[in-house]
């Protein structure tokens, strides 16, 4: 069975685990960097990105996470996870993991009272997908090899670059597992590809 990790420092970890299991994958909650060796792909969940970054630094996770991505293993960032993956963040220009060629803006849709859910289309993956946006970021700019998967009122809310997948909303909060399934399929493909190298 394909083993996929969920970074378990803080945030909606349990929901991602449930969603992965519903897609037929085995989920592992990652709290120590050594555990990254056990998994073929990794989800960076929603939560508070500043909190996660502090814990990433504290436990010396940063390089381990970068190496994980650079080795070709797929990573999926949702909401705060998107912020972690981004090469640049709005006004502060530097990023955290800086793995994905996107520029993100934090809390871009506003505060909690502006949080919303809406049906969006995920290009080639799912139509009429109920997306839950909570103090959500969006993507301001994308690099040349980034494919835009979804927009909401012209704001980019989901994108993919090779083995990196990111979205501004929370696919783990609903029972619609099509987007998570897409990531599980990405991990399966990369397993085959990495095995043949």
């Amino acid at each position: 069975m394909t083993k996929i990790g969920v970074l378990g420092l803080q945030g909606a970890v349990r929901e991602h685990v449930r969603s992965l299991e519903a897609c037929g994958a085995e989920a592992v909650v990652i709290k120590r960097k050594e555990q990254l060796e056990e998994v073929e792909g990794l989800i960076l969940p929603g939560g508070e990105s500043t909190t996660m970054r502090r814990l990433i630094d504290k436990y010396d996770f940063l390089d381990a996470l970068k190496n994980f991505g650079q080795s070709g293993k797929p990573m999926f960032g949702t909401c705060a996870g998107l912020i972690l993956l981004a090469k640049e963040i709005g006004s502060i220009s530097t990023g955290h993991l800086e793995l994905m060629d996107i520029k993100a803006e934090r809390n871009a849709f506003g505060r909690q009272r502006e949080s919303f859910e809406a049906d969006i289309d995920l290009k080639g993956i799912a139509e009429g997908f109920n997306a839950v946006f909570i103090r959500a970021p969006y993507i301001l700019e994308t690099g040349d090899d980034v494919e835009i998967l979804a927009t909401y009122y012209d704001k980019i809310v989901a994108a993919q670059q090779d083995h990196y997948l990111a979205c501004a909303f929370h696919p783990e909060l609903t029972d619609d597992h099509r987007f998570t399934q897409h990531f599980v399929d990405m991990v399966k493909q990369s397993q085959k590809k990495l095995a043949s190298l």
Partner: protein, 294 residues
């Protein structure tokens, strides 16, 4: 078509706070210390609970200037407290744009019978509970997040433990009940029947449940996590300690790694003095904030 203020959006916000620490702050400077230490949110207050205790009198919603000052100082979510049943304080906080309202027994209740109908609001609410009856009644009124009450401002973990154990054991009890026993359980606990059915089938509360009221050390925070809390609120415990920044960081780490005793041992070294606590038996009935609502 987008929808704001749905259950999913309101409860989901609390899901994102899981595994984290929410800290009481009274100004921008403290808010920044909390954010820097890794707090997932801050609670903007005029006074922390131990000072509310010391001051006596009527405790009300904070001056909106303080709430706005804190909102402008940090990028993490900002919560604020309204008095129980005080519809207008809650609306004022909602209009300020706070991310979560705590309808809290730490403030002097405005209504001794009715809580706010929280389903009416776009902003989500967190409420306190001591047992499953209170927990499920608050959810029935529209709370999107719970916290066990403990006894605020005491730095004494005993009541927080009592309430978390009670709620967790009652959830296990509900799971084990047959359908026909559930209605009598609803009658006895005063918990809405339909929500009890949901708890029985899911095996857990439908909203996130944090621990609060008495957490003063990293070990206290880890203890509450082990007892089943989704995260912790720390009120007076941080800014009434000798070294707030260090206490804040240590409590955040102990909450993440609540079963790593070696780490918690390291975190506890040379922390300085924790807040001075209060023994429960020295509190008069009027001092007990947890008894202010049911």
């Amino acid at each position: 078509m987008s929808k704001t203020g749905t259950d999913r959006v309101k409860r989901g916000m609390a899901e994102m706070q899981k595994g984290g620490v929410i800290m009481d702050v009274v100004n921008a400077e403290q808010a920044k210390i909390a954010e820097e230490a890794g707090a997932v949110a801050v609670m903007a207050l005029e006074r922390v609970p131990s000072d509310i205790r010391a001051a006596g009198g009527v405790a009300r919603m904070a001056d909106p200037t303080i709430v706005e000052e804190v909102m402008n100082a940090v990028s993490i979510p900002v919560m604020a407290k309204a008095r129980i049943g005080h519809i207008v304080e809650a609306r004022v906080l909602e209009s300020l744009g706070v991310d979560y309202i705590d309808e809290s027994e730490v403030l002097t209740p405005a209504d001794e019978i009715y809580h706010i109908n929280k389903t009416d609001y776009t902003v989500p609410f967190v409420c306190g509970c001591r047992d499953i009856g209170e927990a499920v009644r608050r959810i029935g009124e529209g709370a999107s997040m719970l916290r066990t009450k403990g006894e605020p401002g005491t730095g004494n973990i005993v009541e927080a433990v009592r309430h978390m154990r009670k709620v967790q054991s009652q959830i296990r009890e509900i799971v084990g009940l047959s359908e026909d026993e559930l209605m009598v359980y609803a009658k006895e606990t005063g918990a809405p029947f339909e929500l009890l059915k949901e708890i029985k089938s899911e095996g857990r509360l439908p909203v996130v449940n944090f621990a609060a009221g008495g957490i003063a050390t990293p070990s206290d925070a880890a203890l509450m996590m082990q007892l089943g809390a989704d995260g912790v609120f720390v009120g007076s415990g941080i800014f009434k300690s000798e070294n707030p920044a260090k206490f804040a960081r240590s409590i955040v780490e102990a909450t993440t790694h609540y079963d790593d005793y070696k780490l918690i041992g390291e975190l506890s070294k040379g922390l300085g003095t924790a807040m001075k606590g209060i023994e429960m038996s020295t509190l008069t009935p009027a001092d007990r904030m947890q008894d202010r609502s049911k």
